[in-house]
Symmetry: C2
Subunit: 223 residues, 2 copies
């Protein structure tokens, strides 16, 4: 994706995550072109990508709206992520080199450092966490799997905006990572899969608890 398109994508995405727009609000390509400072052509390219990521949706008459995710949507995404990333962990366990495992250890060390700050450095934690999971997906060596997961992993970030992580949550995550590393070192795919499964399933419940039982979901323009 080239300069203007990439820029448009990043700015629109940031705009959506910033909370300046509401779910189901209509957007026009012209607006977005103004916001991003490029013409409609690259905006359209960026919008298509954001549609693919389900951050934007179109009505049946091609008008553009900010997506509103229902509880079911979120649960679905966590389920799919779990299924795919367990598969990734299984494959990674059969493929990770000794060096790569060492790198994972380093990343998890950095993650623990971030937790150990007072107050915990959540931004650094999230970055290290992202890096850890990404390395596993990479090691799975399955390009389509990676492509699918990248969409799912980035998405829930949208709603996490005001979310507060408890220190216990963060610590438990780092322990899960330790155990994943142990599974990789033992080259045990079943173990890796199982740990990844509980790791992500717990993440879902933590997330769901913090968000509460709100709903949402219907598209305004009809769909």
């Amino acid at each position: 994706m080239s300069r203007a398109s990439q820029q448009a994508y990043a700015k629109i995405r940031a705009h959506l995550l910033s909370g300046q727009v509401q779910p189901n609000e209509q957007l026009t390509e012209d607006q977005l072109a103004q916001i991003t400072g490029v013409s409609r052509t690259p905006v359209r390219e960026a919008v298509r990508r954001l549609e693919d990521e389900l951050l934007l949706v179109r009505s049946d008459t091609k008008r553009l709206f900010v997506a509103d995710w229902s509880r079911d949507d979120i649960e679905e995404m966590f389920s799919l992520r779990q299924m795919l990333e367990c598969h990734a962990a299984e494959r990674a366990a059969q493929r990770l080199s000794r060096e790569k495992i060492t790198q994972l250890e380093a990343v998890n060390h950095a993650l623990k450092d971030a937790i150990a700050q007072d107050p915990p450095d959540v931004a650094r934690f999230l970055e290290a966490n992202r890096c850890f999971h990404e390395a596993i997906v990479d090691a799975a060596d399955s390009p389509r799997l990676g492509q699918m997961l990248s969409k799912l992993v980035e998405a829930p970030v949208v709603l996490r905006t005001a979310r507060t992580y408890s220190l216990d949550d963060l610590r438990q995550s780092s322990r899960d990572h330790d155990e994943l590393i142990a599974a990789f070192t033992a080259r045990d795919p079943d173990w890796a899969r199982a740990v990844m499964g509980s790791h992500l399933r717990r993440a879902f419940h933590t997330f769901a608890r913090s968000v509460g039982p709100q709903t949402g979901g219907a598209v305004p323009g009809g769909k």
Copy 2:
């Protein structure tokens, strides 16, 4: 996707599947615009979609090539499809209404009709088969799952061009469908998942056998 874009997509896709172009052959947007009879703007939209489906790939310098799938690529896609569609079958078993199951039976009946022709009507078989699987994915009621699967299901069709189905293969497929319907009627998710798993795994081996152990894979422009 609107008129010109959709048309461009369909024509380019048909062009790729027709065998008039070779893997790793370079294409230009201008060429495709001429072939499809629309301007470059909708062609670019179609191309991006085909890139997403991995029928086209870009070199590191943004030049466009016909994708060349290695044996690993194909195996990867079958694996992912199996994982996702087993999940779909499981969910479908918990959701399919009695009417929907009746519709599945009708579709499978049509599929058997197609087989019973002399010679077997492979085109009609494929269409009924597509319809059968699509109905199951629909019933799973998981939009992102459907989106992912649609990419995977359509893709291997590319290589199947000259493929010849044996009568036994076709008959076994219809029997698998019978058993899936039985599992749905019994509302047994585990059964449905298991049948779907063996159904698709066998399809992979049938496919692999017919294609042979050829390779392919490297992208010309570098990447």
